[in-house]
Symmetry: C2
Subunit: 213 residues, 2 copies
């Protein structure tokens, strides 16, 4: 199985660290700082300096001996890797508690994401506008998707609806599904599924707590 170690030419683990690098270097840019060393970044993020340098090497960034890396260059390179420099449209399906929370989250724009439409099976939600995003009934899913040009969907429906809805999204041409349902999805291999299972984090924390007793 697996086969998920490399994303393009980047190691998965490097990609997973990019958001935290980006947060820090964006903050540094805001403060007017122009260069930063791998040691300083490592200290702020709890990483070895050499790991920071390796990661930057992978994304094609080269620093200056004695000085460090240029903050602006880092921001642009990381944004480019993640495609977070341009805003992409996404739809959200399942406007329950979690879906509502994600609709209210202001941070997505900084990550290049604009939720342009939401869908729910509950007819009483249709017509609502949540934080600027219109909510439609599930019946409108295919027709709205034809109108919009969203490549990505955020899936926050209940577990028992997950597979069916995911299949509808795939058939409607959605290329990537960010899956918050906790269920594994079985879809054609050209659809990229990213599972976001909150239970994993809780499991790790629980296990650490119970092993320390």
């Amino acid at each position: 199985m697996a086969y998920g170690y490399k994303i393009g030419s980047l190691p998965l683990t490097t990609v997973q660290r990019l958001p935290s690098y980006l947060r820090v270097v964006r903050e540094m840019r805001r403060l007017g700082r122009e260069v930063v060393s791998s040691a300083r970044l490592g200290e702020l993020l709890g990483l070895e300096a050499v790991q920071v340098r390796k990661d930057f090497g992978f994304i094609g960034i080269t620093g200056m001996p004695k000085m460090g890396y240029q903050v602006e260059e880092l921001v642009l390179a990381i944004e480019h890797c993640l495609n977070w420099n341009q805003v992409r449209d996404a739809v959200l399906v399942g406007v329950g508690h979690l879906g509502m929370a994600l609709l209210g989250y202001e941070g997505f724009r900084a990550h290049g994401l604009d939720i342009c439409a939401a869908f729910d099976i509950d007819p009483s939600l249709a017509g609502l506008v949540v934080n600027g995003t219109p909510v439609w009934h599930m019946d409108q899913l295919e027709s709205e998707l034809r109108r919009l040009d969203a490549r990505m969907a955020i899936l926050t429906v209940s577990p028992d609806a997950a597979q069916d809805v995911a299949l509808r999204l795939a058939r409607a041409g959605i290329e990537g599904i960010w899956n918050f349902t906790g269920c594994p999805l079985d879809l054609p291999p050209d659809v990229i599924v990213q599972d976001q299972d909150i239970a994993i984090g809780l499991a790790v924390l629980s296990a650490k707590l119970s092993s320390r007793t």
Copy 2:
């Protein structure tokens, strides 16, 4: 750095897979199924059968050749590893969109978690009861924590408050912090911090999407 490979005697990666095993075997128990093979579990979860067997070996479960593993035994063993068989109290700090969503999430009880109190800086939220959980003002944090016996805190405050609030929690005796703020926390090493950064999942999905073009 790092040093985070083993949790007690279990590999981190094994612990990360435990929640998905648990979900499936609980469902099988509900359906009255008594045994299951590693091959079947692997198929359902997208894992190699041998990996399933290795994981079960780590948590001390032994199967029967030709038959497979006992579903009931698996449920109990995994719940035990994660301490999800008993309910533990937790507090939630930061009742914004995300905090509200987590308070509304019914699934925590199945994961052994009961959010017994929530806190927010906004005085207009104090006195509210959200899905059975009372909300207090931040001023009450220390005094309420003295009254309750929560070992774990869910941190959903804004990034700029994260470090300060985390420190207050640590000083009040909280042993584990589930950190949704996206900021790294700098705390005494006896406090266990589990970062739950939603941006990581989005980064991986974004990178996969942009590498497929």
